[in-house]
């Protein structure tokens, strides 16, 4: 462990750039985007430098920390603002700043007509800063700051065009769903402090050895809830589709490559918790398996290209979560898939953005068709990403996804078969819906609306896409070569000795199986969408309709959460007025009623006054009599 004093600049640069651009206002409109891009690029530069420096150091000295200042200190609750750059975080740093910088560049062109481009870039930089804080924080609380910071950036960017009420609603929905997850993270931190007296990763790790399994399970479950919120996992996934309201570069950066994978990071970072609690692991794999199928099924039914890709993201993160739940061996594969996914999904999103750019922001794939000829570069890069995601060797997705399916099968017993089966099924469906996307978009007849003149995007947009697709081709091979990533991450996730578990199938069998189902999925899709595709979506089977409605997730939320919530609000408002305040008013009313009655007694007649006095005297007499005798 080395101590450093300069890690903070990694976060400070984009943060200050963001604040700078926001505060400066319209003055910076002309050059703000270049400035932000330059800042992002320089953080990538620093990241690269750190990476190579780290690689040049030997094992124990690779991780570095920096204590910036004492943040909170109350009683035994001491949290410093301090950073930890280790093998795990550097992966993320590179991903965030690398993909981030490419997307900055892309956005310069993509957003060139938007009058608020400066603000957009400020948000992007804010996101970069927050995301870096998320992966660099050395304690759960520091992570939490970044965690909510990216949520904020995500909210701002989804709602970037918030003049449209639907977009503003989508932003709000994303934030609120994330907050539900945040409850999990908050509670996790509270449990950690209560149980272990510390909220730093190292402190919790040390103390976790002595902890009760109930505490660890609760902690794991809460972390999983947090991850589900941020990473759009079941049952908190519903926001991701709506989040596509944001500008496409945002979808690529935040809602595909980086932020949504924060849940995977969190679980991987907390590997010591999940390693110690099998129940927590079980929960994780259940969530992962459900989501990977859920997302895949939803993906088959979406006609909106971005929503289809979003469903795919959900599904792919389901794979990652599944992998993290598979025990020590799974973490590295999860991270590997995370990285490769970052490349190919970002490339495809940017490709989709490029298509939309040429199609007057049309997102309905049924309005596409035959675009491969007019935008060849986009088509090719998208195709490379496509091959990567469905897992065709030697593209990136093959290496990472294959490993996960394999590990799932190796989980042992019925669980292994179930999980492996789910992963395999997911792969098949993935192949189907991705093929559907490609076929609908780039091949077949033109189904363009009148007045659309598709064209290839400017080179400022194409370069990032090309670079990313290079990544989607090569990254899998590089990361897997000699188990490079597994060894690199070993000090963090501590996979040593956890190898084992009966191999259900030989790896080669798994690969073959996976390839087989992929081919099946591809063929089905090609056969189905080869011919004419109606511009209006057909009614479809009930299952299709159900899938289109996100498998009823929104309906469920609406019925189970929104409507009762509204009812509670309404009834509480009524209760506040009629009951709580009503009691107060009733007191006032009673008093004035009494007052008026007393007024009647005061009737102005002397004789009745005298009578009152007489009665009073008699009553006094009687009372004292009773009291004394």
């Amino acid at each position: 462990m080395t101590t450093r004093t300069d890690l903070v600049y990694l976060i400070a640069l984009p943060l200050f750039s963001s604040a700078f651009l926001l505060l400066l206002g319209r003055i910076a409109d002309k050059w703000g985007h270049f400035f932000a891009t330059a800042i992002s690029a320089s953080t990538f530069g620093i990241g690269l430098y750190e990476f190579f420096a780290m690689r040049s150091r030997s094992g124990d000295f690779r991780a570095a920390t920096q204590r910036i200042f004492e943040w909170i200190s109350v009683g035994t609750f001491k949290v410093d603002a301090s950073l930890l750059l280790d093998q795990l975080s550097i992966c993320f740093v590179l991903l965030i700043t690398g993909v981030g910088t490419l997307i900055h560049i892309y956005s310069i062109a993509y957003m060139s007509h938007d009058r608020d481009r400066r603000r957009f870039f400020a948000y992007l930089n804010l996101f970069i800063a927050a995301m870096l804080l998320l992966v660099l924080g050395d304690s759960y609380l520091n992570l939490y700051v970044g965690w909510e910071g990216v949520g904020l950036a995500s909210y701002l960017l989804i709602g970037f065009w918030n003049e449209r009420p639907a977009y503003a609603t989508a932003a709000k929905k994303a934030f609120v769903a994330n907050r539900v997850g945040d409850v999990g993270l908050s509670l996790a931190i509270m449990i950690a402090f209560t149980q272990f007296g510390s909220v730093t990763f190292s402190g919790v790790k040390d103390a976790a050895l002595h902890a009760s399994s109930a505490a660890l399970t609760a902690l794991g479950a809460m972390l999983l809830l947090a991850a589900a919120g941020k990473s759009a996992q079941f049952p908190l996934q519903s926001w991701l589709g709506d989040a596509m309201a944001g500008p496409t570069p945002v979808s690529a950066l935040i809602h595909a490559a980086t932020m949504v994978t924060a849940g995977v990071y969190l679980i991987t970072r907390s590997n010591f918790i999940f390693d110690a609690s099998s129940t927590a692991r079980l929960l994780v794999v259940i969530v992962g398996a459900i989501t990977l199928l859920f997302g895949a099924i939803v993906g088959t039914a979406k006609d909106d290209i971005k929503k289809a890709l979003a469903a795919s993201t959900m599904s792919q993160i389901g794979y990652m979560i599944l992998a993290t739940g598979l025990g020590p061996v799974g973490y590295a594969f999860a991270i590997m898939h995370l990285l490769t996914h970052g490349f190919f999904k970002a490339s495809m999103f940017l490709g989709a953005g490029s298509v939309m750019h040429g199609m007057n922001d049309e997102v309905n794939m049924r309005r596409y068709g035959g675009l491969g000829k007019v935008m060849p570069i986009t088509a090719v890069t998208f195709g490379l990403g496509y091959l990567a995601i469905i897992g065709v060797p030697p593209f990136a997705g093959f290496y990472s996804k294959d490993k996960i399916i394999e590990t799932a099968f190796n989980a042992g017993g019925a669980r292994g078969i179930l999980l492996g089966g789910a992963a395999l099924l997911g792969a098949a469906i993935t192949a189907f819906y991705m093929t559907r996307v490609v076929v609908l978009t780039f091949t077949g007849q033109k189904r363009w609306a009148d007045g659309t003149h598709p064209h290839e995007s400017p080179s400022l947009m194409l370069i990032p896409i090309i670079l990313l697709s290079v990544g989607s081709v090569a990254s899998g091979f590089l990361l897997n070569k000699g188990n490079a990533l597994v060894h690199w991450l070993a000090p963090v996730v501590d996979a040593s000795g956890a190898e084992g578990g009966a191999e259900l199938f030989k790896p080669i069998v798994v690969s073959a199986l996976a390839l087989g189902v992929v081919v099946l999925g591809v063929l089905t899709a090609v056969l189905k969408y080869r011919g004419t595709v109606p511009v209006e979506a057909p009614a479809g089977s009930p299952l299709t309709r159900f899938a289109r409605r996100d498998l009823g997730q929104d309906d469920f939320n609406h019925r189970v959460l929104v409507l009762p919530g509204r009812a509670i609000t309404k009834s509480l408002v009524g209760m506040d007025f009629h009951f709580v305040d009503g009691i107060v008013r009733a007191v006032g009313w009673t008093l004035s009623y009494l007052s008026l009655s007393l007024k009647k007694v005061q009737n102005g007649y002397v004789r009745s006054y005298a009578l009152l006095m007489t009665i009073g005297a008699i009553a006094l007499l009687a009372t004292i009599w009773l009291v004394t005798l």
Partner: protein
């Protein structure tokens, strides 16, 4: 004379000085009032500078006999708890005076009267936090209602007279219950150690449990009304809707803190056993407040009413923290008082400007403001973010400390409290969406953005919100010793970690 006394007197003298200015020269009156309140801020800064964070007990102590027949003293002194609240007062006063530049016009009385009342209010707020004599505290506690009453009733909007009346009656009822308790504890002190009202001495009394419970309730209900805790809150929305922004800020931002301050200073310190008895009940009430306030905030159509209900929710957190009886909870609650002051200030001030420009306080009458008035919208947004306790903004630290502190002792309560953060997101974001996002609502097109004066007024608040989010240490350093002292007085210590030690 102690600096604290000097600080108390400064706004009073300032108020008198305002009478030297001709009534018609409103501009000079305003400038003078602001300048003089900055002087008070300077003095409080000096106090903060000289404040010894290592010392235990009260500092800047001063004591004179006042009503010797009852052993009543003019006794003041501050610890960290009082210091931060006094600083909150002195910081917010010039800001609201500057922000509310035009509020005094159109009031029932002259502009000068408005500023005089404001300064009197400032003085009494400082004094109430500094008082170490229970009787003195009570007197100021009650007397400070008058300026607020006049400010709401004389310069407010809408149903101002009724709202002011409701506020006053609630507060006075609470005050009278407290008076009964004050008398009670005085009598007990007479019987045991000779009649006194000094808090420190009263804390040493031995009180039988029934009496202690009754006295505790007498104090607590008064503070719960002020705080305001469910179900004693119904005065607040009306008052917040009717008061001018500047008054609302001082009312919710500072004055209501007297309630939670009193809980720490008097309820817990003087009646530790009763505190133990009632803690479960109070925790339940505070949880109800958190959720209830949040739900009602969601259901509000009036922007000021919304802020009022969010405050009820936040006060729920503060009370929860106080009665969690952990150092995190107590320090968090104290910090929350400060943070809530600034956060509410930002919300009320910006909302006030919005209302003044749009001439309506209905949330649905706004809309699309982000495009029309970006600075105002951003200010409101940041204030909203602080209301939902976004990490990086001050409220987060305090809210989290409260929850963590509560969790270590009452996990179930903390879990319920934590769900409040989802509701907070809802009420803030729904409002943000309705007022700032979407297409510009009809009638909003011509709204002007913040002018320089308004920007100057809101900037320090927002700066503080952010700075205290990242660097709360100086304030926590002031607060921590008094939290520890309170816990000791109540006979509590932090629960130890269950594993690893």
């Amino acid at each position: 004379m102690s600096l604290v006394t000097v600080l108390e007197l400064t706004p009073l003298i300032s108020a008198v000085l305002l009478y030297a200015i001709p009534k018609g020269n409103t501009k000079l009156i305003k400038q003078a009032a602001i300048a003089l309140s900055v002087v008070a801020l300077g003095i409080s800064g000096l106090i903060a500078y000289r404040f010894d964070t290592n010392a235990t007990g009260m500092q800047f102590v001063e004591s004179h006999n006042w009503i010797s027949n009852f052993g009543i003293k003019y006794a003041v002194g501050i610890d960290g708890l009082a210091l931060v609240l006094i600083l909150l007062t002195t910081i917010l006063t010039p800001i609201v005076l500057l922000a509310g530049w035009n509020e005094a016009e159109g009031g029932r009385w002259s502009v000068r009267t408005f500023y005089v009342l404001m300064l009197i209010l400032e003085s009494s707020m400082i004094a109430v936090f500094a008082a170490t004599d229970v009787f003195l505290f009570y007197v100021i506690f009650e007397a400070m209602l008058i300026p607020v009453y006049l400010l709401i009733g004389g310069y407010g909007r809408g149903e101002r007279a009724a709202a002011a009346m409701k506020f006053l009656l609630y507060s006075l009822l609470g005050g009278l219950l407290m008076l009964a308790a004050v008398i009670g504890i005085y009598i007990i002190s007479t019987n045991q150690i000779g009649g006194t009202f000094e808090t420190a001495k009263l804390a040493t009394l031995h009180i039988d449990s029934l009496t202690e419970n009754c006295l505790f309730l007498g104090f607590f209900i008064a503070f719960a009304i002020k705080a305001p805790l469910w179900p004693f809150h119904t005065w607040l929305p009306g008052a917040a809707k009717s008061a001018t922004p500047a008054t609302s800020v001082l009312l919710l931002g500072v004055l209501d803190k007297v309630g939670t301050y009193g809980m720490i200073r008097f309820c817990i310190t003087l009646f530790p056993h009763a505190t133990k008895t009632f803690t479960p009940l109070i925790i339940v009430l505070s949880i109800i407040s958190i959720l209830y306030g949040a739900f009602l905030a969601i259901g509000q159509r009036d922007i000021n009413g919304l802020i009022a209900f969010t405050s009820i929710s936040h006060f729920g957190f503060i009370v929860l923290g106080i009665f969690s009886m952990t150092s995190q909870g107590l320090s968090g609650a104290t910090l929350y008082m400060v943070n809530h002051g600034f956060s509410t200030a930002a919300l009320f001030l910006v909302a006030g400007w919005m209302v003044a420009r749009r001439n309506s306080s209905q949330i649905e009458d706004f809309g699309g403001l982000q495009r029309i008035t970006p600075v105002m919208a951003w200010s409101f947004f940041i204030a909203g973010m602080s209301a939902l306790a976004l990490p990086g903004i001050s409220s987060f630290v305090s809210e989290f400390l409260v929850l963590v502190g509560t969790f270590t002792r009452y996990p179930v309560a903390a879990i319920f409290g934590t769900t409040g953060i989802v509701l907070a997101a809802l009420y803030v974001l729904i409002t943000v969406q309705r007022s700032l996002h979407g297409p510009a609502a009809p009638g909003n097109e011509g709204i002007s953005d913040l002018n320089l004066r308004e920007k100057i007024a809101i900037a320090p608040v927002i700066a503080l919100l952010v700075i205290m989010g990242f660097f709360p240490k100086p304030v926590l350093d002031w607060i921590n010793p008094s939290s520890t002292a309170t816990m000791q007085a109540a006979g509590y210590s932090d629960p130890l970690p269950k594993a690893g030690k």
